[in-house]
Subunit: 153 residues, 2 copies
């Protein structure tokens, strides 16, 4: 019985990937809620805007960046706008388009959320990866993501 390598069953890895995602997000959302903060989707939206050029994004680009549908994004921006964290601006050059722009209060909210979120990432995820594992994961997921995006035509 030679060379009985432990070859990871990849379908098991996929199942683990899904379960870990679900459990970690559940814990993170709960921590944000307990701190009186909005859900992760709001963080994602605010962060996407804050790191964009001139702190603004075309709605379609923002949807692409967040990997959500356009109609979903329209309503998310509605809620963010109503909370005063974002505002819409009509595009000058292409008057079909609209920008979402983060407001000062939006930036402030993101800064309030970050400690809770980053602490959760460190404690629940990052803290369990060795440097080598983090690198392996980054490479592998990067490849999978690029391929999936490529084949999405």
């Amino acid at each position: 019985m030679h060379c009985m390598e432990k070859k990871a069953d990849s379908s098991a890895v996929w199942a683990l990937f899904l379960t870990t995602h679900a459990v970690l997000l559940e814990v993170m959302e709960r921590r944000l809620a307990e701190a009186g903060l909005p859900p992760l989707a709001w963080y994602d939206a605010l962060w996407a805007l804050e790191r964009a050029a001139e702190r603004r994004l075309r709605l379609s680009d923002m949807a692409e960046a967040m990997v959500i549908s356009r109609s979903n994004l329209t309503r998310l921006v509605d809620r963010l706008e109503e909370a005063g964290l974002v505002k819409r601006e009509r595009s000058e050059d292409d008057r079909r388009g609209a920008y979402a722009v983060i407001t000062a209060r939006g930036a402030q909210m993101r800064r309030r959320m970050w400690p809770v979120y980053s602490q959760a990432i460190a404690e629940l995820f990052e803290g369990h990866l060795s440097a080598a594992e983090a690198q392996a994961m980054q490479k592998a997921l990067g490849r999978a993501l690029a391929a999936a995006r490529g084949s999405r035509e």
Copy 2:
């Protein structure tokens, strides 16, 4: 400038983890829909039942296994039952409880979904992991998941 290791920024790994999850699920759901098949949540539910002892689970155990809330599961089982893929059975010993049991049609549906799903897992995920990467990922995620579940009291 000695030892300039490429240390993966773990927060970047987390971001990549989230994005990859979102994109891959999007593609998988689309493939199932295009094949005229139900969403992944149905597969999860059916598979959880099929691998359980006597092909049945207490609803609360099923919710736990699927990492969804109880009320969410109640309604998911409603839909599955209406589609004839699952049926509820009252528990004999503890008459508060209910079981979900997979039906023959449910098992058949799971078998119809599996080729599409497994093909997507292989092509979009598994195919991009080397054996070493799969092992690293399994270990790391396994640790993170166990810790998160443990600390969830």
